[in-house]
Symmetry: none
DNA sequence: AATGAATGAGAGTTCATTCAT
DNA sequence: TATGAATGAACTCTCATTCAT
């Protein structure tokens, strides 16, 4: 119950929970509530037990509805997982966005993004797990999530070049490299760790991105 | 922890692929052959269908042995997967090692390692998949694989600092950052792509690692 | 211990065959019917083929339901066997009770009980088999059945002593002796035989219990 | 190991271990030893785990021979169990015989037999289990064991009548009744108990057999 | 819209038995 | 005689999905 709250509580206000890709559209307020309960319960179930170990009946019993009711809202186990990945993907983005907006310059933005992501990963391990497991359960969603993220990073790099804060010639490869770095640091220091070192980790990683690791003449 | 040590201990030099951790030891030549066939078949089965969709009977029929024979060599589906992850993990390392050894300096070594890894990922997509899926099937092996790899990178960074090719103060965070970059570039350009752009991708990524992306006074 | 109490508590008066200890409680009339069918089918299956040779699919096909339906009502093969032993145990008791109640005195009661038991054993051989096999499959139920039965006999002996029909000093040992005698005569003349000689067997056995086999001064 | 010794040690000398009904006849001394090891191991395996849970490989590994060797000596799992029941049956008889021979009169003989049996049951619970389980695994052996035993008791009763120590008219029914008492007292006070009360139990049971439980005029 | 019993394909696993060496 | 790898039938149990109520 606590866990559910933990996840569900995340961003109650951010977006009006889009009609959940993959879910059937409920026609009554009661249906609306049941759908939401199902989605929240699925986040807990899949987050705790994983896709294959998690079961529909686990979801419905957590949601407090009958087994059969599940199929009023989703066509299959896959469908709710897909809907969930989209949800979670948006949640990560929404969590990082404010930090990004507040950053004074392009390099600081990358640092702020990483720091926000580390904090998010450590406090929403279930979300991390769901997105990652999508690689095997729903490769399309997985790919879409990372390609979208990479594009967003690439756009920031382009702006950084324009503003003169970053050197020119940065593109997709650099975006993927930075994303990979962020994800693995999120795994190591967020999911496996407790997120305590977030600031220091972000500082070191940002220095790497900014200046590289080669010895400098000036050093 | 023991498992990790087990892997880390073999370290840099390629050994003759240990007798498959987790498998029962065959006592005859025929048994030896069957075990090998099973392991190879499992790599294909799990690589193609994933752990959960893959089945024991899929493995045995690919290996050309009877279903029951499986249990002469492995205690469970889990056991062979574990053995496989260890195997695959060693294979990645063994593939990268020569490129590393041949590099003229520390930075070139990182570039060579990435290039070798990209080539490997594109030609052994099933290995990539098996190691990654271990995150959900056998977290210990997964963690052991990445922690060992990170330690190896960290050791190289330390040597680079000593030799003066890299700046001082590089540690675990940088190792994980570089590993994350490599893995995601491996996914994007190796597994998803065809590995054709390996050299160019490696060059760009290496430039990022070496010099960073900040604009330089001299630029 | 609880299990024993569970049985002993119902005691002498026949109740409407409790809702099958160990089975999940059905919530619809259809479910009620399916549960009953499963229990009846299991009695036949285990009675004919024994616990180990008997199979779940044998039970469900006899009951006319799908294999999977079994697990809607029982957690395991063991669970239905346990439920069955409890059922059967109660059935034996219920069959003997009326004869006991109708007997004019304590010694006649023992004789009536044996006679009823012999008749029952010959017409319900599968029940005999199920209870007996419990010794190896579900020792707790087995023990509970015989300890409860022995207690019931001991209570009758105590009453017999009080009423002056039996000598004083009779206890647990005598109860177990009489029970063992009954069970073996049930096996020999009920299960193996056809129950035809019941009356004569009961007469001879009762004479043994009543007067013993030593030669008498008066003889 | 201790357990095996426990059983094997029983009556090393009594009979030259007949060619074990159901076993193939070994042609060498080595074979003789292997056969014996197999039989002893089977007694432990079946005694501890029961027939169905017990496995051939459990037997061979206890016996210290290879799995395949089993079939040099026995045609099937059933066959060794049959051989074992015959063995065990003889062992019970041999254990009781001396007590019987030493008894001063017919009634004392029955009492001595019961006392010896109780002691035996408490110190050889495995044997008790094997014989009893035969009811479901090898009904013929089971029946043979008890019919033979009953006949032996009946013969003693006949002699008792002749000698004047017992009343006339005793037959098969009485023999089965006495046997049933003994077996159940063996279960209750030997197998379930520790055999400590053997003498007192035998005394009470013998009084029942001898004098019955009816109140006597003289009382 | 909600319920929960019913379905049945399919999975992993066991093990008595065979047989080539 | 001894070995142990190989076999494959058979079993228990799971669970996504359907459907009558």
């Amino acid at each position: 119950m606590d866990a559910r709250r933990d996840i569900a509580a995340t961003d109650e206000d951010s977006e009006p929970v889009a009609p959940a890709r993959g879910a059937k559209t409920p026609r009554t307020a009661r249906g609306e509530r049941t759908l939401r309960a199902l989605l929240d319960a699925a986040a807990v179930e899949f987050g705790e037990r994983g896709y294959h170990e998690g079961s529909i009946s686990g979801i419905t019993s957590r949601a407090g509805v009958a087994l059969g009711s599940f199929y009023t809202y989703f066509d299959s186990k896959d469908a709710i997982f897909r809907a969930l990945v989209t949800d979670m993907s948006a949640r990560v983005r929404d969590h990082v966005a404010p930090a990004l907006a507040a950053a004074p310059d392009a390099l600081a933005a990358e640092r702020a993004a990483l720091e926000a992501f580390l904090a998010f990963a450590s406090s929403h391990k279930e979300i991390y797990r769901i997105i990652d497991e999508a690689e095997f359960v729903d490769p399309d969603s997985f790919r879409a999530h990372y390609e979208t993220t990479a594009q967003r990073i690439a756009a920031r790099l382009a702006k950084g070049s324009e503003s003169g804060a970053m050197r020119p010639g940065l593109g997709e490869v650099h975006a993927w490299a930075i994303m990979g770095m962020n994800v693995f640091l999120g795994l190591r220091y967020g999911v496996w760790g407790d997120g305590a070192a977030s600031a220091e980790v972000a500082r070191e990683a940002n220095e790497l991105i900014a200046q590289g690791i080669a010895a400098r003449a000036a050093d």
